[in-house]
Point group: C2
Chain length 326, copies 2
Amino acid sequence: MKLASLKHGRDGRLVVVSRDLSRCIAVPQIAATLQAALDDWANVVIHLRDISDALNAGQLADALPFDPADCAAPLPRAYQWVDGSAYLNHVELVRKARNAEMPPSFYTDPLMYQGGSDDLQGARDPITIRDEAWGTDLEAEVAVITDDVPIGTTAAEAHKHIRLLMLVNDVSLRGLIPNELAKGFGFVLSKPASAFSPVAVTPDELEGDWREGKLHLPLRTWINGEWFGEPNAGEEMTFSHADLIAHLATTRKLGAGSIVGSGTISNKDRKRGFCCIAEVRMIETIEQGKPATPFLKHGDTVKIDMWDQAGRSIFGSIEQTVQLVK
Amino acid sequence: MKLASLKHGRDGRLVVVSRDLSRCIAVPQIAATLQAALDDWANVVIHLRDISDALNAGQLADALPFDPADCAAPLPRAYQWVDGSAYLNHVELVRKARNAEMPPSFYTDPLMYQGGSDDLQGARDPITIRDEAWGTDLEAEVAVITDDVPIGTTAAEAHKHIRLLMLVNDVSLRGLIPNELAKGFGFVLSKPASAFSPVAVTPDELEGDWREGKLHLPLRTWINGEWFGEPNAGEEMTFSHADLIAHLATTRKLGAGSIVGSGTISNKDRKRGFCCIAEVRMIETIEQGKPATPFLKHGDTVKIDMWDQAGRSIFGSIEQTVQLVK
């Protein structure tokens, strides 16, 4: 099942989207918003699936064309957005570029940060920045949405709390990160609004590519229309999505609609390219002494997509243009 | 005007509370929840004020007794909870206890962290912990709730976006903080669910005690019924609530219902006591070589309150008991 939120008010209008992303239908009789559906998932999911099945069978004459440009984020605002760094190749490169050792605990204790969730962007919304010198970067990731997760939930139990998956562009202001992390309290200014794929999908849509809490498909990125990378999100992921949820649940429960991100997808095989500019700049620094690839500027475009085994977009693409505002 | 959310579903039932905290009345005809009111504040505030005026005048026969034990947090879940460290005496003591210098930038660049907002506790809810060895501490603070704050909002402009104030117990697990901060991405596990005062109040309720974006009254704390502190929240606050909002708005807008905390209230005058146990332990460490005051254990109680000039509770008290769950 695929779900989206068309732009409407603060929380969007929930629609069920056909598997091929061509048609959609609003379901106010079931739930007006995705958050409302997640708040009562056990009861509403069967009704949403009935609509989805009928839509995919071409039985709903009142379905409308689906346009990703009409989409808000699946959750236009959420009660929690917390992001991991599950791909340690990315973290190793960051450390290597500044000649720092990787702490051994990083291989057993997930690195995660709490993000702002009051303003989540739609797939075609601009990346709004106030200063190009802040060093704007994409971070292409996979995220899951949970239902209610009790305190103390284990990784084995966490799997069943993963209700939906989607893609994220966790926009990062690289120039602001060193000062902010030096202060010791994590990211605040350096992580402005993230953007999400047009649709969120239930795990069963991913068939065999979703296993052991990892999505085993390449995450594809382009910058200004040029191929930038396609590392596989299922490989070299040290902590699965279930591991990340269990880590959070160590000291607290998670409310329905919590969004948990994987961190930037990153593989050791450099031929696969990248999901963020910082990483290629680190490799340039390690190999050539200084970075060469520039960060994003006004008018630059970013595209993020994931295809199934047959080459069809699963979530629809994130396509954003950087917009400088004063 | 004073507002509260009685426990009801996930988001509570909005009530207007009388100034003396004795009576309340639900206002579903205006807004079912506090978030709904904040989403449309400019339009609903006049209607809420009419109810408040009538309630305070004793004109509402259908008002009910107000019991803080019935209260959820004013926002039982929020789209943003971000907390500052505006009282630098607290930060100085932390640093001094471990012989670290205070970076000069800390006096001009606010220290803030993004907190989890999917689970905000009511004033009489327990502090739920899974391990006493985690070192459970209170942090008594003042927080504001904003309406929509545009990107780039200055401190001078931020004042008008402060719609409500409340008290917070920003529960901290001191034993988990060193490891988590060493990882560099801020607090995740070490800041479980915060609790909030029974009511949130509009700035005009505070009269002359709310000025220049600071609340000039002592914040009173008790542990197991014994006086623990009463530092003044308006003194030695390096960054006002407006400064903190403006800092956040540097790179992003804030959604309506964003909660922005002050950080633990702390004054240099030690006779005024403390708003967190860590601080008295730091002073014990500096003076005696090691801490003596224990952190909170199962069954311990914490009370946090603020009185107006006439000694009346403004927000109602936070009164929590530590509950160990396995």
